[in-house]
């Protein structure tokens, strides 16, 4: 069905450590993926995206890895800070190209311990 699942519902890390949030997607035809961050009481905010013709993309302190063979997506956050505490969602362009729509996973809560 139309689903994007996350492996872990909650991730707790120490401030300064690196965080890795994982995501499994279901549609092999999906060609675009996004990670969003949602803080309490706010709408999701864009973090980073990646297209299916890439396997890695880096941003500021964040890296997204895409493994199309096993339909797996991950978000790596370097030197995690207390401000990174939030729920993280992955989303896929389910259906590909301009026929697709963004489908979201359940989310992983990231807790950063000082």
């Amino acid at each position: 069905g139309e689903s994007v699942g996350l492996h872990l519902p909650t991730l707790s890390v120490q401030e300064g450590d690196n965080s890795i949030i994982n995501c499994a997607y279901s549609n092999s035809a999906s060609d675009y993926f996004i990670w969003y961050k949602q803080e309490s009481g706010k709408g999701p905010q864009f973090i980073i995206d990646i297209r299916s013709n890439m396997d890695k993309r880096q941003g500021q302190r964040v890296t997204v890895l895409l493994n199309k063979t096993v339909k797996h997506l991950s978000l790596q956050i370097a030197a995690t800070q207390p401000g990174d505490s939030a729920v993280y969602f992955c989303a896929e362009n389910y259906g590909s190209g301009n026929t697709g729509k963004l489908i979201f996973g359940q989310g992983t809560t990231l807790q950063v311990k000082p």
Binding site: N98, K101, L102, Q106
Partner: protein, 114 residues
């Protein structure tokens, strides 16, 4: 406006009443999405609009839910005969084009059916 605007921010309604939720997308964005987020859950796709094309209504949970987008801009999500299970945060997002570009989210409307 600078971002996606939703109103009201909070709505409490009695079971059986109809409600209308409004979304003002970012100017120039042709794609508009509605999602529903229950407490502690992911974003459930409801409906999206792309330009003048027929909307994708595949996510609407029942015929009590409907949405319109007038003039390719403002959208209204209507829930008729509300039920307690309709209680959730309703999020609107817009993007330059569907599926392949970043979607920008509003702050959401928190609907509580009592």
């Amino acid at each position: 406006g600078a971002g996606v605007s939703q109103s009201p921010s909070n709505k409490v309604t009695e079971k059986g009443k109809d409600v209308e939720l409004r979304c003002d997308p970012i100017s120039g964005h042709t794609a508009l999405y509605w999602y529903r987020q229950s407490l502690g859950q992911g974003l459930e796709f409801l409906i999206y609009f792309q330009g003048n094309s027929a909307p994708d209504k595949s996510g609407l949970p029942s015929d009590r839910f409907s949405a319109e987008r007038t003039g390719g801009s403002v959208s209204t999500l209507t829930i008729q005969r509300t039920q307690q299970e309709d209680s959730a945060v309703y999020l609107c997002a817009s993007s330059l084009s569907r599926g392949t570009t970043e979607a920008f989210f509003g702050q959401g409307t928190r609907l509580t059916v009592v």
